[in-house]
């Protein structure tokens, strides 16, 4: 890496080298049977050069020819992509939690044992099919630049994803369990999942209309994607954010607070620096309904004359090869602040409404405008405080800003979600639900 930085620094004013190596494996068990076992060892390098107020970028997976990689970045530099920012200097960054060595030592049989214990606990208690996916991984990351930055991290994780399928369908209730070290899916959480599954076994038809809706943690990304897109420095710079000129303004209910905290020690994605080497910290976007901060990487922070807050991450809505994606404004380790009541109390308070456990089509509305129109997958119908069953062919639709003005309750517990982030369930009044009339 250092030789690569040296080569790059000779042809630019500033240079940065980013490298990543991942070692992971995964086991899928469908209907109680191991079906797929796979392993992956991937590496990659990305460089960024700054010169004359412009940026050039390049990446490769196998660093066979340093000169060629730098040459590609120089060609990119000719494209006149403007960049007024500088790479950050070296700062004191707390040492990340040491990776758990036992994750590195985990073999295929260990993954199988974790999945088997989930199946054993649920055996005979579920009418439909049970699928369990488990995996583990180690990620080594390093960023160095010509301003003296030299940061690195080694992180470990494992996950167990349990799906309970409704009979004769592929529709499921599911939950992910994430851990930094080898650990079993907590039995209490499996019991909660099982109870939720059983409540949804009857299929019910409902009528189109406005009603109360609970967004469960795995459905929350419907709203988070819209709020994040609007709060992104990119949207502000291009003047397409509905939050333009609204900082300090009440944009949603005071019961709603949204923030990112990559330093959270309980998060498997914990990191003390972003993918540009900027120190991370708690970054509040919405505080008690008031819009506070824009999500910024180095580039948009400079363009908007703001201070970067460690929100530049190489990633995207659709995944992709990390090294091929440039650092973009991103709310890492996203959170919604918990409220005061339990999920049981929340459901008991509903006279008529729908619990959205999962959604289909969160990506296909007018995201920037905050509009959504999602299939309930599944959605449970609630009447007089009791779940009556899962809704047949239902959709929920609305505008994120409008419905978040009508929050009635926020759950008192945060849960890991399948799309990352930890969220409570949120009960919202007066949401449009469409069904087959």
């Amino acid at each position: 890496m250092k030789k690569l930085l040296e080569t790059a620094s000779k042809v630019s004013e500033q240079a940065e080298v980013y490298s990543i190596r991942t070692d992971s494996s995964a086991l899928e068990m469908r209907n109680g049977t191991p079906t797929d076992l796979s392993a992956s060892i991937q590496s990659g390098f990305a460089i960024r050069l700054l010169k004359d107020g412009r940026i050039g970028t390049a990446y490769t997976k196998n660093l066979l020819d340093r000169e060629e990689l730098v040459e590609n970045a120089l060609d990119s530099l000719k494209g006149n992509v403007k960049a007024g920012f500088s790479f950050p200097a070296s700062v004191d960054i707390p040492g990340s939690q040491a990776p758990d060595d036992s994750i590195a030592e985990m073999g295929y049989h260990d993954l199988h044992k974790h999945s088997e214990r989930v199946l054993d606990h649920l055996k005979g208690k579920i009418e439909g099919q049970i699928d369990v996916h488990s995996g583990r991984g180690i990620t080594d990351l390093e960023i160095i630049n010509t301003s003296g930055l030299d940061v690195s991290s080694k992180t470990s994780f494992m996950y167990t994803f349990t799906s309970l399928l409704f009979p004769n369908t592929e529709t499921s209730v599911h939950k992910i369990f994430l851990s930094r070290k080898p650990a079993d899916f907590p039995k209490g959480e499996l019991d909660n999942l099982m109870n939720m599954y059983n409540a949804g076994l009857p299929e019910v038809e409902i009528s189109t209309g406005r009603m109360k809706v609970v967004f469960m943690p795995d459905a929350m990304y419907t709203l988070i994607w819209r709020l994040s897109a609007a709060a992104s420095g990119k949207s502000f710079y291009n003047k397409v954010s509905p939050l333009q000129n609204r900082r300090g303004e009440q944009i949603v209910s005071e019961k709603f607070s949204l923030y990112g905290d990559p330093t959270d020690p309980d998060d498997v994605s914990q990191t003390y620096f972003d993918d540009e080497g900027v120190p991370t910290g708690k970054n509040t976007i919405i505080d008690k309904g008031v819009f506070k901060n824009i999500i910024l990487n180095l580039d948009y922070a400079e363009k908007l004359n703001e201070k970067p807050a460690g929100n530049g991450f190489r990633g995207g809505m659709w995944g992709g090869e990390t090294i091929s994606l440039l650092p973009a404004p991103s709310l890492h380790c996203c959170r919604i602040s918990p409220g005061s009541i339990s999920l049981e109390e929340m459901i008991a308070s509903i006279d008529k409404g729908v619990i959205i456990l999962g959604v289909l089509g969160a990506h296909s509305g007018n995201i920037l405008n905050g509009d959504f129109s999602v299939g309930l997958n599944p959605g449970y119908y609630v009447e007089n405080g009791e779940i009556r069953g899962r809704v047949k062919d239902g959709m929920a639709a609305g505008n994120a800003y409008e419905i978040l003005m009508n929050i009635e309750h926020v759950e008192n517990t945060l849960h890991d979600s399948i799309t990352g982030g930890k969220y409570p369930a949120i009960l919202i009044n007066n949401v449009n639900v469409a069904a087959k009339d």
Partner: protein
């Protein structure tokens, strides 16, 4: 390269082993508004190993050549673990040993076009959109992805194939005060650079639609009879039906597998669905899949009756059905999974005017805005549409998402148009991204669709 790969897998203690090496070259030019956000060309590579041993099947992917030995060890260990844990017993359908080298046939080779020329073309289309009324900004990219694939297996097959896709795609965003509306745009294909030239009218038209959407009404949620435009028909065909035709999706769910038995009458007589990646000049075109099997056209549904399914060698054996050559990976980071290439509903005999007349009251929904399935349930968005009254197109509508159940909806397709359009860009995200997922069809009339509205 093929000889080198053959040496790598020689003498491995397994019933079957294959290895794929790929070099992937990407050129990207990205605009946001008038500003260039990213430009450059890059190259990546890597290896995928798959092992079948005593009925256990496992895969490993690695980047570096020096890690190939470890990948083979991991795949062998994985296959053994599947056996030891009483996992799925796998066998491969027999296929002919193939030795072939497939070169590109392009109408204009983008690799020979200087990047400045590509930049100028993209910039010109971008400017055309930005000049239209009410347009606030754009996100528009030129993307060129070339894959050089080298495949060798222990049965003696050795195949290399180059595939290359180019497109200019993105979105145009219109704004009035706080109201934002966007329309997607894409041109491109797998048959060369020249397809991208002379397309000014497409970009102007799409930008003007985005502007008009500012005055469109949000659709009211409820149940409607609808006509889908050809590309939206394609989204339905791909999302709702197509994924259920992929054997790996239904393989481990006995009840769904029963519902999707060949010979079952699932749709109306009007519906015939074809998957055909051998049609030249389509983005879904390829010759060999990523397990060295030549791709074949498959009639998935013939006048409402299920007649075919998309398979890998393993699923073909498990289902006792023919191999189709649809085992495809995104790139060298992934093992192949079953993917659609070009899928479409075969055109019928009705003109668009006939369909409007049959619809009477309902909605005309146009162009896809992403879709998603979960088992037999699907949802997809339409970019815009029109209210239809007495068979006549009325006011423009926006914010349209549809949800349905595959089996119910196939029984509700009451008429099929006589036109056919196939998409110029793919992008299916079934775990991996498939940029070669072409889709299309004619206009179709469907009864009783749930529309979400806003």
């Amino acid at each position: 390269m093929l000889e080198k790969l053959r040496t790598m897998i020689k003498g491995i203690d397994a019933d079957f082993i294959d290895i794929r090496y790929e070099i992937k070259k990407q050129t990207l030019i990205a605009f946001t508004g008038r500003e260039i956000r990213q430009i450059g060309s890059n190259s990546t590579d890597g290896y995928v190993v798959r092992v079948l041993k005593n009925g256990g099947f496992s895969t490993a992917t690695v980047t570096k050549e020096e890690d190939v030995h470890r990948a083979i060890e991991l795949a062998v260990e994985g296959a053994e673990t599947i056996v030891e844990t009483r996992g799925r017993k796998s066998e491969f359908e027999q296929v002919p040993v193939v030795r072939d080298k497939v070169m590109l046939e392009l109408n204009g080779d983008p690799r020979k076009i200087p990047i400045d020329e590509k930049l100028a073309l993209t910039s010109m289309y971008n400017d055309l959109m930005l000049e239209q009324p009410s347009i606030e900004t754009t996100n528009l990219s030129y993307s060129e992805i070339g894959r050089e694939k080298y495949y060798v297996n222990s049965e003696g097959s050795a195949v290399s194939e180059e595939i290359l896709t180019t497109n200019i795609a993105g979105e145009v965003i219109a704004r009035r005060d706080r109201l934002l509306q966007n329309i997607r745009i894409s041109i491109g294909g797998a048959d060369g650079y020249n397809r991208l030239l002379g397309r000014n009218d497409v970009f102007i038209k799409r930008a003007r639609i985005a502007g008009k959407l500012l005055d469109a009404e949000p659709v009211k949620g409820g149940t409607y009879n609808v006509i889908l435009s050809p590309l939206l028909t394609g989204v339905f065909t791909h999302e709702a039906f197509g994924h259920f035709s992929e054997a790996d999706i239904i393989e481990d769910n006995p009840s769904l597998r029963k519902k999707m038995s060949l010979g079952e009458s699932l749709g109306t007589e009007q519906v015939t669905i074809i998957a055909d990646s051998t049609i030249p000049n389509q983005i879904g075109y390829y010759r060999y899949d990523d397990e060295g099997v030549e791709v074949k056209p498959v009639t998935l549904m013939d006048r409402g009756v299920l007649t075919g399914r998309l398979h890998s060698r393993r699923t073909a054996k498990a289902f006792g059905e023919p191999v189709t050559g649809h085992s495809v990976a995104e790139d060298m980071r992934f093992e192949p999974i079953i993917r659609m290439g070009t899928i479409f509903i075969e055109p019928g005999e009705k003109s668009f005017e006939n369909l409007l007349e049959e619809l009477g009251e309902g909605l005309y929904l146009i162009d896809g805005k992403g879709g998603q399935t979960s088992g037999e349930n699907f949802t997809f968005g339409a970019q815009y549409g029109f209210i239809v009254k007495n068979g006549i197109l009325g006011p423009m509508i926006r914010d349209i998402n549809i949800m349905g159940n595959l089996f119910t909806t196939l029984q509700n397709i009451t008429a099929v148009g006589n036109d056919l359009t196939i998409s110029e860009r793919g992008g299916c995200g079934k775990g991996q991204l498939n940029i070669k997922s072409a889709l299309g069809g004619p206009h179709v009339l469907i009864h009783d669709m749930v529309v979400g509205g806003v």
